[in-house]
């Protein structure tokens, strides 16, 4: 257990309190599993103010302000290397896993600053889940165990409760019909697209408020991509989704709001160039670069 004290991203202070608080929240939510959180749709659930991000001495992202609205899909687009992935990681403090990365500024979740010194990143990540570019199911676990991995590694739960969660989240991720007969097989035995939907189900099982997706379909074929998009559309009913994508059609089809990240010149930090309702961003953007990008003139 010595190892524990070396984990630098684990603030054990106030842990118990945070757990208790979380428990109350979970308890309250379990009465209606999968139902939206307190707070009305369209209200900002996360607010980013004056965010600057660095890798060592290199400034990767400058002065980002953004509101992520509840029960809406926010798409982040822009050319490669302009800081989209860096930004999305700042929303659940996953950037801290990258060596040398740090963020300055203010990011709030339900009005609470997630960078405050007494906030446990572990708690932040339970409420703001993440799906990665490359499907990454746990290789040693079955399909079933993959879905409930986050729960099982937390507090103990009843088998019947887990069964119910597995079925519900796999349905939400549009994967249930394909895997219901192979729940006991290894997660690695599924196809790439299925693995990615498994990863989505795994994130849903934690019942987060916000789900971050970092190019979730970029490693997949068009059919699998379509299924992921269907899943996102479904998720919007109950969750808030932020998605990084290189696919313009995907952004315009699937999202309500779009943020365009842009980098003026190599070596300069990326910026949130323009942000607005998806419809406007794709039909009548304010800035020339946005129009050039969404119409495919560059990038």
């Amino acid at each position: 257990m010595e190892i524990v004290s070396f984990g630098k991203d684990e603030t054990t202070v106030d842990r118990r309190e945070a757990m208790k608080e979380r428990k109350d929240k979970v308890g309250a939510r379990q009465k209606s599993p999968g139902q939206p959180d307190v707070g009305r749709p369209e209200e900002p659930v996360m607010e980013v103010e004056d965010l600057n991000m660095y890798y060592g001495s290199f400034k990767a992202l400058a002065d980002v302000d953004m509101k992520v609205r509840r029960n809406r899909v926010t798409a982040l687009i822009g050319p490669s290397g302009c800081g989209k992935s860096t930004f999305i990681r700042s929303l659940n403090r996953m950037h801290e896993v990258v060596r040398g990365a740090r963020a300055e500024g203010r990011v709030t979740l339900d009005g609470e600053d997630i960078y405050a010194s007494d906030v446990d990143p572990v708690q932040v990540r339970r409420r703001v889940g993440m799906v990665f570019q490359k499907p990454n199911p746990f290789p040693t676990m079955t399909v079933y165990d993959n879905v409930v991995a986050g729960l099982k590694l937390g507090r103990r739960r009843k088998k019947s409760e887990l069964d119910e969660i597995v079925e519900r989240t796999l349905k939400q991720a549009a994967l249930w019909s394909e895997v219901k007969d192979k729940l006991k097989e290894s997660g690695m035995s599924l196809s790439g697209g299925q693995q990615q939907r498994l990863c989505i189900a795994r994130t849903l099982a934690m019942e987060p408020e916000v789900i971050l997706m970092d190019e979730p379909a970029s490693a997949l074929d068009p059919v699998s991509t379509q299924k992921i998009e269907d899943a996102i559309d479904e998720l919007k009913q109950q969750y808030t989704v932020v998605i990084v994508t290189h696919n313009m059609q995907q952004a315009s089809r699937a999202s309500d709001y779009t943020g365009f990240f842009f980098i003026e010149d190599t070596g300069k930090p990326g910026q949130l160039w323009e942000f607005g309702e998806t419809e406007k961003m794709f039909s009548n953007p304010e800035r020339q670069e946005t129009e050039d990008y969404v119409t495919g003139r560059f990038g």
């Binding site: 070396f6 932040v124 889940g129 290789p139």
Partner: protein, 287 residues
């Protein structure tokens, strides 16, 4: 006009050099294998003849012939068992630390120490423990022997564990962390299970490595021609040291038993190595 069948001598020379180098490689492999194969064959020929029911059940006889190495088999199991109990937890945990949390000055220092310890001559470990434990415990004993083997095992296990844990893809760690799993739990419940076959392989290889060690035992566990079941008291016989003793005997029949013991040791180590390979083939981290 160029043609596919180049008439220049350039192509022919390239082909010749290729053949020459390939031949040289094969020859080198042969040179490396011949002594090993010769050794194995010789041990089998001389040793297999010594195997009999009495060989596995009897005690070493100083004069005359026959006898066996039952006490050595038991002693080696005790020594290696004790050494494993001490070295596996430390080695594996140190390896986990180095791989998951060791990208700092302390990690670099531990890595340097482990690498240095890997290179320590085994007899030095024996002499060190002689001074530390044998003199202070009032004589040769199994614990001292096991500790000297532990000194040899820990760095090997540490570095091999670190190596296989580093093979686990970072994306798996990220997946767990993003689910709100604390880092220590990610390490213990997600990363280590993904690397477990590799860890076991490293452990088995380190056991195989020390099971045949003679030098450190000469100063610590020493040897005995009788059984010794006490882990903290009295000289503890072991196969390697019994072989060493038998080899110096003037009596042909005693040397014969020594050959049998040598063969037995080779078989045990070979079995460990094979098991290690089978375990590792079962699962590759990350899949």
């Amino acid at each position: 006009m160029s043609s596919l069948t180049s008439s220049s001598g350039h192509y022919r020379r390239r082909k010749l050099v290729d053949r020459l180098m390939t031949g040289l490689s094969y020859a080198s492999v042969l040179v490396a294998i011949v002594p090993l194969a010769a050794l194995l064959i010789y041990v089998i020929i001389r040793g297999a003849g010594a195997w009999s029911p009495e060989f596995f059940t009897g005690l070493p006889q100083l004069f005359g012939g026959g006898g066996g190495v039952a006490n050595g088999i038991v002693g080696t199991l005790i020594l290696v068992g004790m050494a494993s109990v001490m070295s596996i937890p430390f080695g594996v945990m140190a390896g986990i630390y180095l791989a998951e949390y060791g990208d700092n000055a302390l990690g670099g220092f531990i890595r340097f120490v482990a690498d240095t310890m890997t290179g320590i001559p085994s007899i030095v470990a024996g002499v060190f423990i002689y001074g530390l434990l044998v003199l202070n415990m009032g004589g040769y004993n199994a614990l001292a022997g096991a500790v000297s083997l532990t000194i040899l095992m820990v760095p090997v296990i540490t570095r091999s564990t670190e190596g296989v844990i580093r093979l686990v893809p970072g994306s798996i760690r990220e997946a767990a962390l993003a689910l709100g799993v604390p880092r220590w739990k990610t390490t213990l419940r997600v990363v280590v299970p993904a690397a477990v076959s590799g860890i076991v392989t490293g452990v088995l290889l380190s056991i195989a490595r020390v099971a045949g060690e003679t030098a450190p035992l000469l100063f610590t566990a020493f040897s005995s021609n009788y059984f010794n079941f006490q882990p903290f008291q009295g000289a503890m016989p072991s196969l390697p040291v019994l072989i060493y003793n038998a080899a110096r005997s003037p009596t042909e029949a005693v040397r014969e038993v020594g050959w049998g013991a040598a063969f037995l040791l080779v078989v045990m180590i070979l079995a460990l190595n094979l098991t290690a390979r089978l375990v590792f083939r079962g699962r590759v981290p990350g899949g």
